[in-house]
Symmetry: C2
Subunit: 352 residues, 2 copies
């Protein structure tokens, strides 16, 4: 399997399936792990770093799930291929931009990716569309067990798993759920929701995690601290309380829009379609901002020119790396805006 | 002939014909005349005003061109019908909103309209699409002669025609040309053009004359003073120098856009189309702003979903009074914005 094989499909996180998929785009759990007998990366030499990378690749590929995985040496990739992995949420932006020996193993269905030498020696990530934290947990817990059975993992009886950054010490777990919240945005309730989430010590971020804005009305909600809470307590809170509550608010906001601001809602949806299907140049941010009301419109049955699958494809392929892969060459600013508009018109034409 | 008959067609000023019609929407000449033996309107009693109105209607309808004209008692009209006459540029906004005995006679082809008891007792107006000042002059000069042969007109050997407002004293002529200048607007040269025009003592106004903004990139250029200049000198200056020069600048600006900002130009044109053909509510101003790049796009051969005739129809019927006439009932703000969007989608659907 190669990165070329990946780009022929939409990827797990945009499958549009799973519970509450009208609001929950995808769920993710990642575990931070470090080898017991090696230095943390901040104090590792290039040689040690390379050894850690080789050791982890060797061992992971001998685990049951690792055997089928695609092993990618991230340091070896060109900019476009790195971008493709980021855009598919298989590696972090930091991992793409980092330096030195590092890589990722990716399961064929893209539900599991194991980043090696990102901030920690190993980050085990499970990703599924919709709200599917238990299924993800089953996956990555098995991976964690398999890896732990082959390698000594840095663990302290009192503190738990030891990690490069203190905020990850403990279970080393981060649960993140990507939510599409145009209803709360348009009814101007989003800030209240974000404040409430922050009061609960949750992080609220944009589409690509830390430091990114909430483009396209996507908000990523994740736990901030891991020390002193069990994995199951965190998962349980997300699956049964936090996310269902936000989803309920979002659905209520959408109902309000339909009942009280029908024309304004439809106008926003259809204007977005008008621009997407006619623009001759368009930025990535504007594309995502316009796809947002269409996504909601499809779920509310108020837009029918194409469905979620086509929308998700446009969402993914309008991003810089996928767009350049589609065009088979590197494209600069203005060229890219033109290529994006061309792609959208063609894709919408084919879908309608 | 009734106002209902008018609304079945586009009207002279939007015919899209005449010289330089890619830039010149329409030309207009009006003559201000007052009866010699009656007081100016500012000092006339209601009885005198009514007598002036009756006298002028009686005499006008006995002239050769007046015989076929529709006589409209403006004071009798409802708001929508007054609006229709304003939107077709057959009467001024002031005339529609005025009070007391007043009216207009309109030739069947809408090239001539004679306002009675607007600011002056009589305003003879000739209107044609494109740059056609000589043809207009021939028309209204004949009307002026016919009226003058039946009625004594206020005239002073030294000053010329006497008018209610001193700026009209002399020939009492105002020449106005409506220009579509999106090229100069987009290349940011419009202010320079407007300054140059003002330096030549020309007035630069919006679509409906005095006090209106240049919505939809339309600019009305007209002479400010009439005293001491012959009618022919003013016409000659407009026909042979002023307007051809502005038209040349505008065409040059459009060429620059095509050559140097092709994608930006096409993007503007097609986004406008996307919004017009998909919006669920839209204001009159936004409609005109969006029709503007389409008008230019059609003339430059860069937009082909419909032609100038359909565009002019949309331009006219998206205005409040025509829109309400089309819907057969009065429509308030939000309703009107919805009706306008519905009309545009339907009209564009039929045209494409």
């Amino acid at each position: 399997m190669t990165i070329d094989d990946l780009t022929g499909k939409t990827g797990e996180w945009l499958r549009g399936e799973g519970a509450m998929s009208d609001v929950v785009l995808s769920s993710r759990i990642r575990l931070a792990r470090n080898l017991a007998d090696r230095p943390f990366l901040a104090s590792a030499s290039q040689t040690e770093r390379t050894e850690i990378y080789r050791t982890l690749v060797d061992e992971i590929t001998q685990t049951p799930t690792g055997a089928d995985a695609m092993v990618v040496d991230v340091d070896d990739l060109d900019t476009v291929d790195r971008g493709i992995l980021v855009e598919r949420h298989l590696i972090s932006h930091q991992h793409a931009c980092g330096e030195g020996s590092r890589g990722v193993t990716i399961s064929p269905d893209e539900t599991q990716s194991l980043m090696i030498n990102e901030e920690d020696h190993l980050r085990i990530q499970g990703l599924r569309s919709g709200l599917q934290l238990e299924a993800i947990w089953d996956d990555i817990n098995a991976v964690d067990d398999a890896v732990s059975s082959r390698l000594a993992i840095a663990f302290d009886q009192d503190l738990g798993y030891l990690t490069a950054c203190p905020t990850n010490v403990g279970t080393g777990i981060r649960v993140s759920v990507m939510l599409h919240l145009p209803g709360l945005k348009y009814t101007k309730e989003i800030e209240r929701m974000a404040r409430a989430a922050r009061d609960m010590r949750l992080a609220v971020r944009g589409l690509f995690g830390e430091g990114t804005d909430a483009v396209g009305d996507f908000y990523q909600i994740s736990n901030q601290t891991t020390l002193g809470k069990s994995e199951s307590a965190i998962r349980e809170a997300f699956s049964n309380r936090i996310i269902p509550k936000i989803v309920a608010y979002e659905r209520q906001a959408r109902e309000t829009l339909i009942k009280k601001r029908t024309v304004k809602l439809d106008d926003r949806i259809w204007r977005a379609y008008g621009v997407l299907s006619n623009a001759r140049r368009i930025s990535g941010d504007e594309t995502q901002s316009l796809l947002s009301p269409l996504r909601m419109g499809i779920h509310l049955g108020r837009f029918d020119r194409f469905g979620i699958a086509a929308l998700n494809e446009m969402f993914l392929y309008s991003q810089p790396a996928h767009l350049q892969r589609l065009h088979g060459k590197s494209l600069e600013g203005q060229e890219r805006a033109i290529a994006r508009a061309d792609y959208l018109r063609e894709r919408i034409g084919a879908a309608t």
